[in-house]
């Protein structure tokens, strides 16, 4: 098309940009995790007390059983991400 405009630009064209995308993925995953954790705490407190305040959520310290469940969920979630990232390397 005439005039001054790039129709198919590529911006992330250096290998360092891939690291940047990976970093951004970690930020998103982390935030998703914080929300999953908060949701789990919310479910736990609702089951226990029937109603909760924001302060209840902030101050709650998971006991051994819930801590273990959260840790297993976190681990599984992150292993899926790492394996997805590592799968691009060709045949092992």
């Amino acid at each position: 098309m005439p005039g001054f405009a790039a129709d198919d630009p590529v911006y992330l064209d250096r290998s360092e940009h891939l690291d940047g995308v990976f970093n951004a993925l970690m930020e998103v995953a982390s935030e998703l995790w914080v929300l999953r954790d908060r949701f789990t705490v919310l479910e736990e407190l609702l089951a226990e007390r029937g109603s909760v305040t924001r302060q209840d959520l902030d101050l709650f310290q998971p006991g051994p059983e819930l801590s273990a469940r959260l840790a297993a969920d976190r681990r599984a979630f992150l292993e899926r991400i790492m394996e997805a990232a590592a799968a691009a390397g060709g045949p092992r």
Binding site: D19, Q61, G63
Partner: protein, 367 residues
């Protein structure tokens, strides 16, 4: 959970009253899990390197060179993205760690500052900026802003970074400090000096091991020294704390009968290591002991472990690890005047690796 239940789950030497709110806790737990989730990738990397005849042959070479092992491992890992993903993930984690821990502190500053304040910061002897060496300016470990980058960095590191990240990753690292303190040749020291004392993790083990001794801690981080002072005070202890480089403490000659350090040497360049041995010799009375515990020499490691140490050092902001892990510390100790120099591994894989030496008792001048 009750306070007792929390105390039972908090690592030895940490404050169970420090409780993060949900966001801070979940963000730091994520960082620990992000690191742990690399285990399957690490297992594949390990299998590849261990299957490499070239890497296996490295250990049997008359003078194994770490560069040769790195090259062999690189060939063994060709075609796999595992180590690249590990590198990117660890770098992100390292870069995120201090800012996240500092943000968690900031979010609860009103309640946490009470646990972090030093009782008497003016009592810390500060030798000033003019004695601060160049190597201190480098952000080793990638600690954002440096070791004094936050007013309460000592607290932030000890109570948050150690609790949420380093203890889950490495296990009971405080026990190692107690074992090194217990390995010192005598139990009747009256003046003990901990070089590179940080927040007093090892200093506390020394104070427990040698309850009758006057304890001096030396470090370059003021915020770490302030929190060391607090941790001592919380236990009814008082230490002499000095902000100075370990190679130039300014402490009186012949004032100590044990000079010791735990994982200090690999943070400083070779000339500073020589300086630290010389300073230890100066500080010790005749007959006094040196006990320096540090990273395992590569020659004590299996090929995969040596490769991993070196890779981690290069990629984990540890500029002086390689030179320390390949240094001849026995020679350095002898050159400084020490006798009875020996080295011993206190744990598996050559770690903790401890150098022991004694300042000889001066002989009577013969007439």
């Amino acid at each position: 959970m009750t306070r007792d239940e929390i105390a039972a789950r908090v690592p030895d030497g940490m404050n169970p009253d420090v409780r993060l709110h949900q966001r801070g806790r979940a963000e730091l737990e994520f960082l620990a899990a992000q690191r742990a989730a690399l285990d399957p990738l690490r297992a594949r990397v390990k299998a590849r390197i261990e299957a490499s005849p070239e890497a296996a042959a490295w250990a049997d070479a008359p003078e194994p060179r770490i560069d040769d092992l790195r090259a062999a491992a690189e060939r063994a890992l060709a075609g796999s993205a595992d180590q690249a993903v590990i590198g990117a993930a660890l770098r992100w984690g390292r870069r995120s760690l201090t800012p996240r821990a500092a943000a968690a502190f900031q979010a609860q500053r009103a309640e946490l500052a009470e646990f972090a304040e030093a009782p008497d910061p003016a009592a810390i002897l500060d030798r000033g900026e003019e004695v601060v060496p160049r190597y201190w300016r480098y952000e080793f470990h990638g600690t954002t802003g440096g070791w004094d980058g936050h007013e309460h960095m000592g607290f932030v590191h000890h109570e948050l970074v150690y609790r949420y990240l380093l203890v889950p990753a490495y296990g009971d690292i405080f026990r190692q400090r107690a074992e090194v303190a217990a390995a010192a040749p005598r139990t009747d020291y009256t003046a003990v000096c901990d070089l590179g004392c940080g927040t007093g993790q090892y200093t506390l083990k020394l104070a427990e091991r040698f309850p009758g001794a006057r304890v001096t801690g030396v470090d370059l981080s003021l915020t770490a020294l302030r929190y060391a002072q607090r941790r001592a005070a919380d236990r009814g202890l008082a230490w002499d704390l000095v902000r100075a480089p370990a190679e130039d403490t300014g402490l009186p000659t012949g004032s100590q009968d044990l000079v010791t350090s735990f994982i200090l040497l690999h943070e400083v360049p070779p000339h500073a290591i020589r300086g630290i041995f010389a300073e230890a010799f100066r500080l010790l009375r005749p007959g006094g002991d040196l006990v320096f515990s540090d990273v395992a020499p590569y020659r004590e490691r299996a090929p995969y472990q040596a490769w991993l140490d070196d890779w981690d050092a290069e990629n984990g902001n540890e500029p002086w690890w390689r030179s320390t892990a390949t240094a001849e510390l026995v020679e350095t100790a002898k050159e400084a005047g020490f006798t009875e120099v020996r080295q011993q591994a206190l744990g598996p894989g050559g770690y903790p690796w401890v150098t022991f030496a004694r300042r000889p008792v001066e002989k009577e001048e013969s007439t």
